[in-house]
């Protein structure tokens, strides 16, 4: 017994000694001192070196979109590093196109701050903040889409434009050992700054969707950051064609609510694709919008109505429905939101109707 204790004790002592040695060495060797990060040639940040750029910027309240939380597995946290990044790392190359590599685009979670850096980020990221929110509403829109209402606690208001998205932080739970981040479009109106609404579709084994659908309860605290994205209504006089499917409803709904508030008189047609009646939602709200916006029409379409659906509206794939309704779209603007498949199928249909590619705006889920 004593022998056993001595063995354990000696092992612990040796390990502790070595650990202390490493901590001291880390403080001495890996000390890069203070570095200056110059952002967009005007903001100078003094930071402690030795850590990934993504985390350094986060501490300085600059949030770069990232879904994996800095493990180099999502490829979203791209930042242009003009000086001081060192050579491209093998962990970055799969995520960067040859053009991006030439333009000094780097993954900010892989680049460590070791000396003074000069970086460039999109201006809109300066307004991105982290927010503490509380779940105040959870409702089933369909059998697999949940509407989540979040009340902003700290800071108490989120200013965004219709069509933008935020990121939810999923805390570690049974499906993830580290916090991860997932992006969702805001579906509520931008005029409502104290609370936001998200529409989240359940994906089997999806880390964030499982968390939202199976674990989240009213009263829970959720950390979000945002707003991100440039999807939104362009201030022109053109006719508007909106096409969405599933939870692609969210940003379009936000655009429409903003149009309702400002009494926007533009002609607008909204094509919404669903499989069967059980995938349809928000129809009543959209019918109300048709009343308050005189030039707005909502056209839901079912691609595979079930026998009991008693459906009298449009049927067929959303591309077929759009092709039937739209005659000439040369003077129109299109706003698409949904799966990459749906968007890629819709673009050629719109192009064939004469809609210039420059006037097609979309928000692809991936």
């Amino acid at each position: 017994m004593t022998e056993l204790l001595i063995a354990v004790g000696v092992m612990c002592a040796i390990n502790t000694g070595l650990a202390i040695l490493l901590v001291i060495a880390d403080a001495l060797i890996a000390d890069y001192g203070e570095c200056t990060v110059t952002v967009n040639d005007r903001k100078k940040l003094t930071v402690t070196g030795g850590r990934p750029l993504l985390n350094v910027l986060k501490d300085q309240q600059i949030f770069i979109p990232s879904a994996c939380g800095g493990r180099g597995s999502c490829g979203l946290c791209k930042v242009t590093v003009l000086e001081g990044a060192g050579p491209l790392l093998p962990t970055e190359t799969p995520w960067l196109t040859p053009e991006e590599q030439k333009a000094n685009v780097r993954l900010s979670c892989q680049v460590k701050v070791k000396r003074d850096l000069r970086i460039q980020i999109p201006e809109e990221l300066f307004s991105v903040r982290q927010y503490r929110t509380q779940v105040v509403g959870l409702a089933d829109l369909t059998y697999d889409i949940k509407e989540v209402r979040l009340k902003l606690i700290e800071p108490p208001a989120l200013t965004f434009t219709a069509g933008q998205y935020i990121q939810i932080e999923v805390p570690p739970y049974e499906l993830t050992a580290e916090p991860i981040y997932r992006a969702y479009s805001v579906s509520s109106a931008p005029s409502e700054t104290g609370e936001i609404e998200l529409e989240i579709r359940y994906v089997p084994n999806g880390i964030c969707t499982t968390y939202v659908h199976k674990h989240l309860k009213v009263g829970d605290t959720v950390t979000i950051n945002g707003p991100y994205g440039s999807f939104g209504l362009h201030p022109t006089e053109r006719e508007i064609i909106c096409i969405a499917g599933g939870s692609g409803m969210a940003p379009i709904k936000s655009l429409l609510l903003e149009m309702e508030r400002t009494g926007n008189p533009r002609t607008c047609r909204y094509f919404f694709g669903a499989k069967a009646k059980r995938d349809l939602f928000m129809v009543d709200r959209m019918r109300e919008l048709e009343k308050s916006l005189p030039n707005f029409r909502f056209i839901p379409a079912l691609s595979a109505p079930e026998p009991g659906d008693a459906w009298e509206g449009e049927t067929g794939l959303i591309t077929e429905v759009v092709a039937r309704h739209v005659q000439s779209a040369a003077e129109a603007e299109a706003y698409l939101c949904g799966s990459p498949l749906m968007i890629d199928a819709c673009i050629p249909v719109l192009r064939a109707k004469g809609l210039p590619e420059a006037n097609i705006f979309y928000d692809k889920f991936s």
Binding site: V10, I14, A19, L22, A25, I29, P87, K114
Partner: protein, 197 residues
């Protein structure tokens, strides 16, 4: 056993009893990181530093801690832990000093931890009952010998890749193993000059 001098041990560990070419320890990184002289010089230096330092350190741990406490059976795990800590240290230094080298070594840097040559050197030092001075000399020699062997190998492979037409089936590890065998034959010529056992 007879008293072997510091230089005799150092010399024999580098040449006559080269740990890589006579004991075939540390073959994996020897084969994988010997395409370019620059990277193998880096890895060789790292292995040299770790072997030299850990052999001395492990001598102290073994004779001052494990033997008095009758814990000799823990030597494998203790040696590995000491080596692991030292590899961490070397990794930090290389990352700080040369980013290019840090990337060239890639995964092989942390893998030095399980480089059998290093553990082998520590165990030989115990088996052969070296004194502290002898252990230091042996550690230096073994590390230097390993570095020398991988650099010689890298030199040969670098030349081969430029000038010779290797049969397709032998490209890469195939020809590397043949070269290693030939080199080992050459080192066998030293056999019997000095005996370490």
């Amino acid at each position: 056993m007879q008293e072997l001098g510091f230089f005799t041990i150092l010399f024999s560990a580098v040449f006559t009893n080269n740990i890589l070419l006579t004991n075939y320890l540390g073959m994996c990184s020897f084969l994988a990181v010997s395409r370019e002289v620059k990277a193998s010089l880096g890895l060789g230096t790292a292995v040299f530093f770790v072997t030299a330092a850990t052999t001395a350190l492990n001598w102290v741990v073994y004779y001052r801690i494990l033997v008095p406490l009758d814990l000799v059976y823990l030597r494998f795990i203790v040696f590995i832990v000491v080596i692991a800590a030292f590899v961490q240290l070397v990794e930090m230094i290389i990352e700080r000093v040369s980013e290019t080298l840090y990337q060239a070594l890639g995964i092989f840097l942390p893998l030095i931890t399980v480089n059998c040559a290093i553990l082998g050197a520590c165990l030989f030092m115990v088996i052969r009952d070296y004194t502290f001075g002898q252990a230091c000399a042996y550690g230096l020699g073994a590390g230097l010998g390993w570095a020398l062997a991988i650099m010689a190998m890298a030199g040969i492979r670098q030349r081969l890749s430029l000038r010779s037409r290797i049969p397709r089936g032998l490209e890469g590890p195939g020809i590397a193993l043949i070269i290693a065998g030939t080199m080992a034959l050459a080192f066998m010529g030293f056999n019997g000059m000095v005996s370490l056992n």
